[in-house]
């Protein structure tokens, strides 16, 4: 499986995720969250920021079901789902992830017919610190 190729701006996201925390970069001056992380706030041009904890709740905005040809680790689980989650605390931010039956489960662990746009989801974390999503009402 591919692991995140982290850049300087994105590193804190992954450090918090490794501790089971979902946090998003937020301007320390104007309070606007932004994603992906970047050095400067596009709203007020401040370079000061903090990493704000989120509730981890969201809704599925869209999803796809990739089929081969894919990299081998992914082809082995295909068709799997990739969902886009609109965060309850920051609706403009939509995180790419996988809907799974429980933390650490395979990418195909939820049947495709259970996935629906608008469904409420909650963030969980793999042992490796990758965020995943489970249905609030499975």
């Amino acid at each position: 499986m591919l692991t995140p190729v982290v850049d300087v701006d994105g590193a804190p996201f992954w450090e918090y995720a490794a501790r089971g925390e979902l946090r998003v970069q937020t301007c320390a001056d104007c309070d606007e969250p932004r994603f992906p992380p970047r050095p400067c706030c596009p709203h007020c041009r401040s370079f000061d920021h903090e990493w704000r904890p989120l509730s981890g709740r969201g809704r599925i905005w869209s999803y796809v079901l990739p089929h081969p040809p894919l990299l081998p680790d992914y082809a082995e689980q295909a068709p799997y789902n990739v969902i886009l989650v609109e965060l309850a605390d920051a609706p403009r931010i939509r995180l790419v992830g996988n809907l799974v039956s429980e933390a650490g489960a395979r990418l195909d662990s939820v049947p495709a017919d259970r996935i629906r746009i608008g469904a409420r989801v909650q963030a969980v974390f793999t042992p490796e610190g990758l965020p995943q999503w489970v249905l609030e009402r499975p």
Binding site: T3, V64, P66, R92, N98
Partner: protein, 385 residues
């Protein structure tokens, strides 16, 4: 005072050239580039040593030094490369038009040479994946451009009732035109609704026929001032308007992190394109719209103003994209069915329509919209004869 539209009709495409298209061609990308450029210069009746400007894509592997020294070009005074893959196609011509209109050069060549059919697939190379934004998408299995665009396609279907039949209408129009074009990869391969609906998935909701071809080939065109164009051997095809578009807070193919991911670069390019044109979408006789994926067409139809937001799927109904329809589309077969060379074949087909020499000629075509890739920082041209 309104700014003067200095580009409007100031330059014209006077030569086009291409190599054969195939899944695998024996020659190198460099050799293919040279052949396409020489063919375009020959079509224009202009000697290679008169060329003083070049434009291509940042993803083009053959650089200006290689092209100029192999073809015996003259002293170059303008050269430019445009980023963002297929989003740069029309911008290569736009940059040459700006250079010629502003006196920086006199004879410009734009080109693209690519062995995508037999070469590596970019998404398979995981060692060079860019940290931003790939770190936010790749680990979760959103690996290929098809996956990234399928995400927007699914949302468009959900919000606006766009259907797989709408996407089939796009695939069919392109295939029907390719069936009229002996140079097209899919010349002798008709497409049916049954074939489309039962084909294998690539990334649901996109199936095999929603994806462009993988092609080896090269194309080029030659641009000069309108004044010089009148003395050339072919009907001049004027660059009436040209635009690039990178919207505020746009994120490329994974445009998921702003207010409205379904409003992409096409909207930005379109505003600029029409602002400097004497034409409106109603005046366009034929369109060559970038079609790496069928789902880009509804988005582009909305963005360039042929229909309202959300109506791009419904627009394709009733044969609208066929010859004789409201907006004949990709009349050489496009990236879906002629060849996928980062959209450069859409430019050359626009030129053929306005010369009256297309294999699927729209009778009396006088205006053509050509677009580059939607979903990435893009560009567009309005051509007229």
């Amino acid at each position: 005072m309104a700014p003067m539209a200095v580009l409007k009709d100031a330059t014209a495409i006077v030569g086009i050239g291409q190599t054969p298209f195939a899944k695998q061609l024996p020659e190198t990308e460099r050799a293919l580039a040279c052949r396409a450029i020489l063919a375009a210069l020959d079509d224009a009746g202009i000697a290679p040593d008169e060329v003083d400007a070049l434009a291509s894509y940042t993803m083009e592997e053959t650089d200006e030094v290689e092209v100029a020294k192999a073809l015996g070009l003259g002293d170059l005074t303008f050269f430019s490369k445009v980023g963002y893959g297929g989003g740069g196609s029309c911008a290569t011509v736009a940059h040459l038009a700006a250079a010629i209109a502003s006196g920086q050069a006199t004879v410009g060549v734009a080109w693209r040479s690519r062995k995508r059919g037999s070469g590596p697939r970019p998404w398979k190379n995981t060692t060079v994946q860019l940290p931003t934004p790939a770190q936010w998408t790749r680990p979760f299995g959103l690996l290929r451009p098809a996956d990234e665009i399928a995400m927007l396609a699914r949302r468009h279907m959900h919000e606006y009732g766009t259907t797989r039949d709408h996407l089939f209408n796009v695939a069919l129009a392109c295939r029907n035109r390719a069936n009229q074009n002996p140079a097209a990869i899919m010349y002798d391969r008709p497409l049916t609704r049954e074939m489309y609906m039962t084909s294998r998935w690539i990334s649901e909701p996109l199936c095999l026929f929603d994806n462009c071809l993988e092609t080896d080939g090269a194309l080029a065109c030659v641009l000069v001032s309108a004044e010089r164009a009148r003395d050339c051997r072919r009907t001049p095809v004027y660059v009436h308007s040209a635009a690039q578009g990178l919207p505020a807070q746009h994120h490329g193919m994974v445009n998921y992190w702003n207010d409205d991911p379904l409003t992409g670069p096409a909207w930005t390019a379109a505003r600029h394109l029409w602002k400097h044109a004497d034409l409106t979408p109603d005046d366009i006789d034929v369109a060559q719209i970038y079609d790496a994926f069928t789902a880009l067409i509804p988005l582009s139809l909305e963005g360039y103003g042929f229909c309202a937001r959300g109506e791009g799927g419904a627009f394709t109904e009733g044969g609208a994209l066929e010859i004789g329809g409201r907006l004949p589309l990709n009349t050489s077969g496009g990236g879906l069915s002629e060849a996928y060379v980062h959209g450069f074949n859409l430019i050359t087909e626009g030129v053929r329509q306005l010369r009256g020499t297309s294999t699927a000629q729209v009778p009396g075509a006088a205006t053509c919209l050509v677009t580059a890739g939607e979903g990435v920082p893009t560009s567009a041209l309005l051509l007229r004869n």
